[in-house]
């Protein structure tokens, strides 16, 4: 699947205009959170109501006929995109959170970071056997967090249909990591290198 997908349901010109608008609304912040990293900042997209709406619409158009029953969003920027998609397609929204934030009984999935490890949690009972799930985050880098999310959903009996992100950082090979789990990835844009003015 190519990184910058054009949706089957729209004519290609309209989708690519929307994607151009989305891409130009993103901002790159050099050396955050540490030297050498070109941070892809989605907050400027959220300041452009048309570009933000187009972002949600592109995801909704792709999934609305796919019988998705759960949108799982990864804390915290997945919470910005996931709920609007869930509302538009009539699916449940399930937050996947850092440890000790969810108040009820949880299942946890540990995953490795560059240095050390972290953990993602989901409420027991949020997802059921037979649920068809979409996982949403703002960006895919190495794919470590998305793989942890996939494991949580599959342990609860859901089928993960796809992972969806606004941005992909191709050099970090997250797509390949997901593919090795048998899961497809859909993204709107690739990461940019130049800091925006």
């Amino acid at each position: 699947m190519s990184a910058c997908n054009n949706n089957n349901n729209n004519n290609n010109g309209d989708s690519s205009d929307r994607i151009t608008g989305i891409k130009s609304a993103l901002r790159v912040i050099p050396n955050f959170p540490k030297p050498g990293i070109m941070f892809q900042d989605i907050t400027t997209l959220l300041l452009d109501p048309k570009a933000f709406k187009d972002t949600i619409d592109l995801f909704v158009e792709r999934y609305k006929h796919e019988h998705i029953s759960v949108i799982a969003g990864i804390e915290a920027r997945g919470f910005i995109f996931g709920p609007s998609i869930a509302l538009a397609i009539g699916a449940k929204f399930v937050p996947l959170r850092k440890p000790k934030k969810l108040p009820g009984e949880v299942i946890s999935e540990k995953y490795t970071l560059e240095y050390g490890s972290d953990c993602l949690e989901m409420h027991v009972g949020a997802v059921e056997s037979g649920d068809r799930a979409l996982i949403v985050d703002d960006l895919i880098a190495t794919g470590g967090t998305l793989c942890a999310a996939m494991n949580l959903l599959e342990r609860a009996g859901a089928e993960v249909v796809e992972c969806a992100c606004v941005i992909e950082v191709p050099e970090l090979k997250g797509r390949e990591r997901l593919r090795s789990h048998g899961k497809p990835l859909y993204v709107l844009v690739e990461s940019q290198f130049e800091p925006s003015s």
Binding site: R27, I29, F32, P33, F39, D41, T43, L46, L47, D48, P49, F52, K53, I56, E75, A76, R77, F79, I80, F81, P83, S84, A86, L87, G90, A91, K92, F93, V94, P95, R97, K100, K101, L102, P103, G104, H123, A126
Partner: protein
């Protein structure tokens, strides 16, 4: 909000469903606290949609140009409201999360202090702002968010929350700023 009798009973039906979709978890995060868990409401697409609709209906004619959501549960409710109103969404975050230049506001916790941050340039002087969080307790977080927005010259029109913990009298800590809630819990 003014309503005919039939509008009012539709509103009440929606609020009743929303209220019953919220789960209470005793003794979280510590003994004695009855935690109001909105994640079960997010599992009920009708209740979640009704929640958003009730806010959008209230603010649709109020020329709101910015919806500011407090991390992290404000990120769940704020963006759908912003999208429906055609407004900007501005995340208000814990320290060191936002990558660009920020302004910070410190606020008190039961023990110690915390800080919230907003990107410089996200909100312009004179913009009409709605602040969203899932719940108002003591009002400390919302009071800090109001200060942050007023420091950049914004006009905070109202704070809106799904739930109010009425006994904690958070409303009294917000000065002249009104708070609109869907469900009041004691």
């Amino acid at each position: 909000m003014s309503a005919t009798n039939s509008d009012q009973s539709v509103t009440d039906d929606r609020v009743a469903r929303i209220a019953s979709s919220i789960r209470v978890i005793p003794d979280f995060p510590k003994p004695g606290i009855m935690f109001q868990d909105i994640t079960t409401m997010l599992l009920d697409p009708v209740a979640f949609k009704d929640t958003i609709d009730l806010f959008v209906e209230r603010y649709r004619e109020k020329d709101i140009s910015v919806v500011a959501g407090v991390e992290a549960r404000g990120f769940i409710f704020g963006p759908p409201i912003a999208l429906a109103l055609g407004a900007k969404f501005v995340p208000i975050r814990k320290p060191n999360k936002l990558p660009g230049a920020v302004i910070s506001e410190e606020y008190s916790l039961e023990y110690g202090t915390d800080k919230m941050e907003m990107h410089v340039g996200a909100v312009q002087t004179g913009e009409r702002v709605l602040i969203i969080d899932d719940l108002i307790a003591t009002g400390g977080t919302l009071a800090a968010a109001i200060k942050l927005l007023e420091r950049v010259g914004a006009n905070v029109v109202e704070c809106a929350c799904v739930i109010e913990l009425a006994d904690l009298k958070g409303r009294d800590h917000l000065g002249d700023k009104p708070v609109f809630v869907l469900v009041s819990s004691t």
